[in-house]
Symmetry: C2
Subunit: 433 residues, 2 copies
Amino acid sequence: MQRILSRELPLRVGERVTIAGWVHRRRLLKSVAFLIVRDRAGLAQVVVAEPATRELLCKLTEETIVEVEAEVVANAAAPAGVELTDPVVRAPDGAAVPPPFDLYRPQLTATLPTMLDHAAVALRHGPRQQAFRMSAAAVAGFRAALDSEGFVEVHTPKVVASATESGANVFALDWFGRPAYLAQSPQFYKQTLVGVFERVYEVGPVFRAEPHDTVRHLAQYTSLDVELGFISDHRDVMRVLRDVLAAMTASVAQREAAAVAALGLTLPDVPAEIPQVHFADALALVGAALGEDLSAEPDLAPAHERWLGEWARREHGSDFLFVTGYPMAKRPFYTHPDPARPAYSNGFDLLFRGIELVTGGQRLHRYEDYVAALAAAGEPIGPYESYVEVFRHGMPRHGGFAIGLERFMMRLLEATNVREVTLFPRDLHRLTP
Amino acid sequence: MQRILSRELPLRVGERVTIAGWVHRRRLLKSVAFLIVRDRAGLAQVVVAEPATRELLCKLTEETIVEVEAEVVANAAAPAGVELTDPVVRAPDGAAVPPPFDLYRPQLTATLPTMLDHAAVALRHGPRQQAFRMSAAAVAGFRAALDSEGFVEVHTPKVVASATESGANVFALDWFGRPAYLAQSPQFYKQTLVGVFERVYEVGPVFRAEPHDTVRHLAQYTSLDVELGFISDHRDVMRVLRDVLAAMTASVAQREAAAVAALGLTLPDVPAEIPQVHFADALALVGAALGEDLSAEPDLAPAHERWLGEWARREHGSDFLFVTGYPMAKRPFYTHPDPARPAYSNGFDLLFRGIELVTGGQRLHRYEDYVAALAAAGEPIGPYESYVEVFRHGMPRHGGFAIGLERFMMRLLEATNVREVTLFPRDLHRLTP
């Protein structure tokens, strides 16, 4: 008999059907037993009265794969108003070894390291599963927004010949006897491809040999990269970012409404115009509010970003805040300066609930500017040669941004550790599973 | 003035507009000059009569970025029936260095290595651009088909602790002082995640330290991976694959109709039921037709696959052919045997126009079967421990497949080298750009 999903049961009252899934939970009461079966659509309650089936049920540990043929009966007290009675229960491969924690409890009682060690089963826990379904919905929203604006999806190399862009924090590997490095970002490729398609995006892994063990850093994460040409300046990039974030949030709300409700989440409103503050003004605001003198080493520490997040919520009713005009000294060499105030850049960060979520900006687009910028940074041009060549051949004004998917989900779910929203995290210590 | 795209010109006849793009070509005739501007939507013809502008035009080499403000005039002889007259031409960043080949010619005259060395500009050539737009459309079709069938998109680690799966052909790297390897496929992760989501897919890079220099092998390629649970056997997997291929082809036809027409392509029909032949029967057919005795070392060489491709077209009118039941000895240890003929597997290949495009099949799903399969393969269980653990905790019958995106595009475009359909190829020799 064709398997149906648990969510189809309310449409099949009075029929005999087959479901299949995992033993989620058993409750053996005196007069009756309940078997809760979990499938990808949810849970189904099976009522077991017959002694032989009850005896079988005693042996079918949690997570055993079962097939249940039974009658669908309406019962207002059961999940979704239906339950299955008079069942024939089969466990085609015998009983499973139960996982080291109870998946049916609302909270997993294990520590995060234990959950990560046993990711294969910990990920089956309802709230964890839902987080990753929401993540998939967010990425679908990202792509839909960009597809509708004429962007082309690309796939670029993850192994490169030079440890460029930030020098440190790269993973070295042996490429047929030659030294090579894992790509820290598709930055150079996406810029190059603006020369081909004008507008590109990539969803892919990036690698940072991040030696710090923090709750928000991973050695591999999923980067949502965007780059577009024929802009006036960074403000055109910020407008695209705004639309992308709105589409990501809307896609989560629409495709995973049940998960959002189950997790009790409040999704952020993305304002039609995200408020923005210039770096210099942000520094003055924060300095005055916290009584700190920030003029010596102008930078925004995490505590300052948190304060700005609260300020944006209070003053503008927004979970998001653009900080524009970061000092050139704080940005990578390919950053375009603000023509009116060249010590400041046409680069921005986007804070989401007081944490940096996105970095972006306008890039240099003229060959001479790259030569000058590399010289100013004291970098030889050699390792950058295959990158900067394109700027001799006609490149429009362009810019872009990158969203860290796991960091976005971390903030959306208000998780305390980015590893909670990563299927199989990679970091300083963790290389398995 | 707001920039418009070349394709919007026919709607703006009689107006003054601004376009922006690259100098695609200049034609300096005696009485008049033509400037062809290329943007992401196509080409626009600008008529230059005024002497000063003509003089400027002489300096604006191919690929220079230009902005043109001009009047839109109907002209049945011009591209899309319109041209731009009375122009003001600006080149905000001066003249570009022309690329080492003429991008305006129907065929690039450079060799493939030259094109790959200068990918940043060679990719701007119309037919090359179109190939990658079609590739993006194919991937969008892949995702749409699976999203509508309840699959969840996942992102898995690309760096792993053990050189498993095929042992050889892995890239080694230094992970914070520990040995690690680039993932050859997301095989183990997608199987594990069937235990979580039942149905998963991933679009991501895979890495093969392929020491052979052939027209169809890359050291990094984009794998379209699918895995699903609660199947009966491999035939359920083949049905999903058929639907996915149909969706990929339909998406290319719909989203990139102009590119398909420009390239003169005939897209394949994906039959509602793709014809299939058992490996043993295929061997007999090929052996008889080619007068070869294939019983000693049963395998299908590329020449045999080509013959089968022609046979499928002739006998079944199909560009696609499933070869099922590959010998267990030819498949990886996680392959599920055919219960009726255990020397053969529930694994299949899909041939597309006579070349292997997809490998897939049903996998083992019971812990004891993995222990036995690894022992039979003479492999210790240690390196596989974090992979096989999940099979103790309840795994449904499952299977899946992987499509090599570049190989799919290579066949679709009838390209002779997979590097023609890869933005920035990585192979034995090539690590830049």
